[in-house]
Structures are given as structure tokens and as C-alpha cells.
């Protein structure tokens, strides 16, 4: 069994940080290797002094954790969480974790055809397998309100994490990650259409053109009085059997 993957994403500074002259506090990463294909989206909590350090470090910590974790076949998913937590703290040290608090969302397509997906904090983690409707692993605020979130650095322990391993599938699988600047303004009833749009509009573009187009779309965000930094990352996986895409 082999698989082909496509990953892309973009991040822009929101109107509030533009107005304040503050750097984009979101960070995202895509990576491929023997560990599989990975996308990460992190949103440094805006009220924290080292939010940018926190979000960028979290992206790198996730990549490092995935490399190490996948070297041990069958290692439980919670080991990956522990690795991310520790590696993130090492990367931000001596900064105090609450000062660099950040959300952390990831999707890792394993070479086995499985996918590890989820994270800590608000935003969107959406999955679609084959023709099934999109399901959200993170995206429902439940009983909380805007800007209330768990995060690395302020929410210790496994309870704050929602990370799951999806079994092998012969069908195409799509993972979409987004920071809350995107997720909170999405119409939940249009999530399938949103995922379709991301694939159909961007899949065939040249990577550079794709990035420019996605940045332009994020900069033209249509919701009135939107404020936040905005980040989207997409990972599409096609399982191939006997050379045929399924």
C-alpha cells in the first residue's frame, strides 16, 4: 500500500494586529518524511507576551515529536501528546509556559494509512473520509464563548487534548485545520462546501500560485468587523492500491 498526499496552507495577520503593529501570532507548518505527512496550525494567545514564540515553537515541537513517536511502532497516541508538551517546553525555555500559551492543532497521515488528528484549544479540525460528510474533532465551542480556549502552557494534562488515531482507509481522506480567526466565522452548515472549495479551487494550482491565492482569500475575509489572525492548512491523502488512486 502506498499513498500520495497533498498539503498546503497560509496564514495572515488579522486587522487588529495590523492596526497595533504586532506580528501575526498564528503559525503553521507542513512537513513530509518517513514519519508521514504532517500539517500543524498554532494560534498564540494574543494576550500573552511570548505568544509568537509559543506558536512557532509548538509547530516545530509537533514535527520533532512526530518524527520520534513514529519510530516506535504501536506507541500510544498519548505518548505523542507528552512528547509535544515536553519538546514545546524545551523550545520555549526559559520562557514561562503561560507567557507563550498557544493552541496546537495537527493532522499526521501515517505511512500505514492511519491518521492522527486533533489537538488542544479552539479553532477547527475537520475530517472527511471518502464521500462521508465532514466531521469535526475540534470546532464546537460547546459551553464556552469566543476567545475562551484551552492551550499549551495553561491547560496541563491530557484532558485538554482531543487527539485521535483514525484507522486505515482505502478512501480519500481530507483534513482541514484552521485557527479560530477562521473557524469562528465559518457557517457550520457549510463546512462540507468549504472543504470542497479548498480542494477544487486550490488543488490544481502551482504551489506558489496556490499560496498567493489562499493569502488573498484570507485577506479578503468577508465577515464584518473580523479581527483575528487567520490560518488554514489542508492535508489530502489518497490511498493507492496496485497503482490506482481510490
Amino acid at each position: 500500500m502506498a499513498q500520495t498526499t497533498l498539503s498546503f496552507g497560509a496564514s495572515i495577520r488579522g486587522p487588529l494586529h495590523l492596526q497595533q503593529g504586532i506580528t501575526n501570532q498564528d503559525a503553521w507548518l507542513r512537513a513530509e518524511g518517513s514519519f508521514g505527512s504532517l500539517i500543524v496550525v498554532c494560534d498564540g494567545l494574543g494576550s500573552r507576551p511570548d505568544a509568537l514564540l509559543g506558536s512557532r515553537s509548538a509547530c516545530l515541537a509537533v514535527r520533532e515529536a512526530c518524527v520520534r513517536w513514529t519510530r516506535v511502532t504501536g506507541a500510544p497516541v498519548y505518548y505523542l501528546v507528552h512528547l509535544i508538551e515536553v519538546l514545546w517546553r524545551l523550545r520555549i525555555y526559559p520562557c514561562a509556559p503561560p507567557d507563550a500559551a498557544t493552541t496546537c492543532l495537527l493532522a499526521l497521515a501515517l505511512p500505514t494509512g492511519e491518521m492522527v488528528v486533533g489537538g488542544i484549544g479552539d479553532g477547527l479540525v475537520a475530517i472527511r473520509t471518502g464521500d462521508l460528510p465532514v466531521s469535526t474533532i475540534i470546532g464546537d465551542r460547546a459551553d464556552s464563548f469566543s476567545n475562551e480556549t484551552c492551550a499549551l502552557g495553561v491547560s496541563p494534562g491530557m484532558k485538554a487534548w482531543h487527539l485521535t488515531k483514525l484507522p486505515f482507509s482505502h478512501q480519500q481522506r481530507l483534513a482541514v485545520l484552521a485557527s479560530d480567526g477562521v473557524a469562528d466565522d465559518l457557517n457550520p452548515e457549510k463546512l462540507d462546501d468549504f472543504c470542497d472549495w479548498l480542494i477544487f479551487s486550490f488543488e490544481e494550482l502551482h504551489p506558489v500560485q496556490r499560496w498567493h491565492r489562499l493569502v488573498a482569500e484570507l485577506r479578503a475575509w468577508p465577515t464584518p468587523r473580523h479581527l483575528d489572525d487567520k490560518t488554514i492548512a489542508v492535508l489530502k491523502v489518497n490511498a493507492e492500491v496496485a497503482g490506482r488512486k481510490r
Binding site: D140, F145, E148, N187, L191, P222
Partner: protein
Amino acid sequence: MSKLSDFTVSSPRPLPVILLADVSGSMAENGKIDTLNAAVSEMIATFVEEEATRAEIQVAIITFGGSAARVHTPLKPASEVKWENMAASGRTPMGSAFTTVQQIIEDRQLIPGRAYRPTIVLISDGIPTDDWKTPLELLLGSERASKAMRFAMGIGEEADLVTLKTFLADPASKVFHAHEAREIKKFFRWLSMSVTSRSRSANPNNAVVVEPTDLDDFDF
């Protein structure tokens, strides 16, 4: 227009403000209800005029008088509120108002997760005449409603400040005590400033404290 508009909501993030207004018979005395009507109307007008907001201020008014609370003004953007004066009569079913506001806050169609933390303002000049303790316990124990910012104003010497303080459920919070009807307007000036300050702030979930000394001889 970006195709994204097909998948996104077209309204700003809501910032709900819910008033629980005592309209029992005693509010008809000494011009209290007239002053309250004028103050609430002025507050709504202030919200409508506020242009530099990062959120859409929404208003709901629950009145409690007679036998049960009722929704006088359903939750909607301040700009869409057609103000109608409240009339005072009957008893003080404050517990019923607590139940009604809890239902509103727990309705995620009405107040979605993208909304900023709601503000609940309790205004009363008397002692509750129904069972208020159980509904208040449920309100304060509710995962969503307990996150709301709460303010309270007692009007006149008969106001049950202990009950109002229990509603705040925070030792550091103070009940605003309006000894005279004219002080009702000052409270609403303060409230208007607090809400509009929140709506302009980087994170409207952080309460912006407007110093009471900014208002002429404001007293609480």
C-alpha cells in the same frame, strides 16, 4: 466578492447584554419606572450610535412583575430594537427572571459560541416574591450562564441588597445602590460606557472597568 462569503457568517460576533428589570407595582412609585424606561432607551440609543465596535452589541430585556417574568424585548442587535416602555404592576417574580435568562443564554442558536461573554444586569427595588434561590443556583451552576458578567442595581431603600449581592456571586463585586430615581440614569451611563468599552477592546471578553469617578458624583 470572495467565494468565502458562501461559507462564512455575515454578522459580526455578538456581544449580548441582557437586562432583568423589576417591573413590580412598587416601581411605579416616585417615578422609578419612568426613569428606568428613559435610561434603558438612552442606553440602547448609545449602543446604536457606537460605530467603532469590534462586536455587534445585542440587547434583550426580561421584565419581572405580576406572576411571572416575560421577555419584553427578544435578543437582537441594538440597532433593530424598537423600544417600548415597560409598565409596572404586581409582585416581584425574580426567580422566574433567573430561569428565563438561563434559557436564553443556554440557547446556542440565540447566543452562538462565537459570541463574546454575555452581560446580565439585574435591576430591582424590592424583595423577590417567588422562589428565587433554586433558579439562581441553577443559573450560577450553569456552565454557560455562569460565565456571564453580572451587574446589579438596587433602587430605593426597600431594595433587597442581599439578594442582589447573591446574584453577583463574587465577593469583590458591588451592588450599585440608587437611592433616588435620578441615580438610575447614572448607572445606565456607567453600563453603557462599560459595554461600549468592551466592544471596542482587543478582547471584549476582558471586562473593561470604567472608573466610577469618571461620572459626575456617581455613588455606589
